[in-house]
Amino acid sequence: MNRITAFMRERVGVTGTLEIQGGASFAYVFGKVLVMLLVVQAATGAALAAFYSPSSTDAWASVAYIQDQAAMGWLVRGLHYHGGSALVVIAGLHLAQTAVAGAYKKPRELVWWLGVVLLLLVLAWAITGLVLRWDQHGYWSNRVEVGIAAGTPVVGDTIQKLALGGNDYGNLTLTRFYALHVIVLPALVTVLVVAHIVLARRHGMTPMKSGNAVVPRWPNQALKDAIAMAIVFAVLLAFVVQQGGATLEAPADPTRAFDARPLWYLRWLFELREISGSAEQLVAMAVPAIVGGYLIALPILGRDNKRWLGGLAGLFAIICGLTVMSFVRDASDDDLAKRLGDATMRAGRARAIAKTYGVPASGGQDIWSMAPMWKARTLYAQRCASCHDETSKDRKGPIIAPGHGNRAWIGAFMKAPSSDPYWGKTKLANSEAKMAPVNAEPAQLEALVELIYAQSGATDVDVEKRDRGKGLFEEMCTDCHSLTEGVSGSGPNLAGVGTRAYFTSFISNPKSGVHMGADSSEMPRFDEELSIVERDAIAEYLVWLRTATPVDLNALGPL
């Protein structure tokens, strides 16, 4: 062992041991813990970078992949995200410890200033990292942050364009923030941390303990450092596991409002803006400058003045107070809780879809299109529900719900076509042209139901019953209806009723002679309103509804 040490000493050029005046202490561990956390950030960051894709189409998808599919991806991402918080907490303690020890005083001013700059860089790191996930949280937080920067007099516009990489959010926004986050900031931080440590070692520890006892750093302080690192890492790990890693909201959606909140350590600024009303732009610019200025000025102006330390403590107390106020304000807002609940539900849904079906190449914001019948259900909700949904106050047509067009539905319709769930709400039901209830024996009705049901192409048709139905149809229904394709009558042509092609045709033009006819239909044509793909999608949904139950519909999830 000694020979190896001697060998290395000779070649590396390290001589002597670092010593601590007054003895080892847990007060001195924070710097070392910060280095440990930076190493954690570097290692987890490198692993994440091996998965992450910085483009507006792939960013959210790749993060969702890390979070929900890659082995332990959630844990590594959680360590990276919450490790950032740990950096801020420990940096705060480090700053407090060195301030109390008076380590900012001559000749250590440079060490202190480097530390202050590093703290700022850590905050910049967090801001540039948050946008990379390209979810609602990252996207909207960044909009606000860049918006604030854009409010800078004179150069604001240029700052915004440089930050976004052009005129709007897009691919270049992500590549820029990515380059800053994983290349520029790590390089800067590394250089400054090395300078910070080299200078700090040159000046030695500012003793906090009295007495002239001088002990070597190794192994007295090193053991304490190791214990502190282990504790901090254990707490971080436990927190990450308890939280289930970092959050990931639904993909960035420029149309959907989101309650963007900054990271917790910038909450005090958020609260300050909140309470400063119309002066908020000024506050957003001036207050960070004042706080930063105070920290920079401390070594010069506060060299021999205890009151400056008191001021620092006061500043810290105000920041903590504002942070608490912000969280309390949010916690007492019931509307906000509801909106956040909705957002969380959408996030879960989006991630479930991403995991099951994958994210479309067109990007995260199209994730919903991957859910079964999502497009159709959306169109239905927008264009059909007000007239056809059971819950609609303005319903004007038959109810469309799970089971629509199955045997039970057809049977009940035949018995009472003008009843409320069917044509009851239409003008047709109150006109001469309305359909008369089918007056038939139960067995006959069953056969007729089977015949109409068979039109849908369902595979569980009772052929014998259906064929009996044909005769009955000829007898009872052909005055108005036909089962021969293309034939118009006073009532709708029922050939293929219930098939996808039938529904597409009906939705396209319900006023057609083969459907309701121009006089009997209040439903508008949709052949110009909706594309053929959209009409077909709705038709597919209607076919699906025939065999679906309300439970199935619910299982498709919210829109």
Partner: protein, 169 residues
Amino acid sequence: MSDPDRRKFLATCAIGGGVGVVAAVPLVRLVIDPAGKQTVSSPREPLDLGPAERFLAEPTKVEIIAPVIKDAWAAARDVVLGAAYIRRVGDTLDARSAVCPHLGCAVAFDRAKNNYLCPCHDSRFALDGAKMSGPSERGLDQLPLKIVGGRVLLTWERYKSGQSKKEPV
């Protein structure tokens, strides 16, 4: 510093500086390149939002979907750019951008209170878009809208945020 030393010092600085400048010019030029460009672009033609009668007195949210968008090197079809709220005012329609004029968050129509809320900093806007409360410097931006042959044609426009003057980006 003696004269020969000073000369060597200046020469070192000149050489180092020269190399630095030569290396920095293309680098800086590249990095600032997008700042002066329209990196994300879509056609400026008005978008057809369908028949005018579908819009009622209560605001309807419509997504602004660009038929094609160019995003630096990539092009994509049917991309959602943003949203607008359209409501009927007598015979005409009024379109308001859902982009908050404060810092660009998306505002949402609050049906319970019959006004708009921006969730980021709690700005509220009246039904007609006028600013009610919160930090926003102006009301919701009106978007150019025309009704041609019964169909609604809307032009999507983004305006600079954080100022009282409405000014296109």
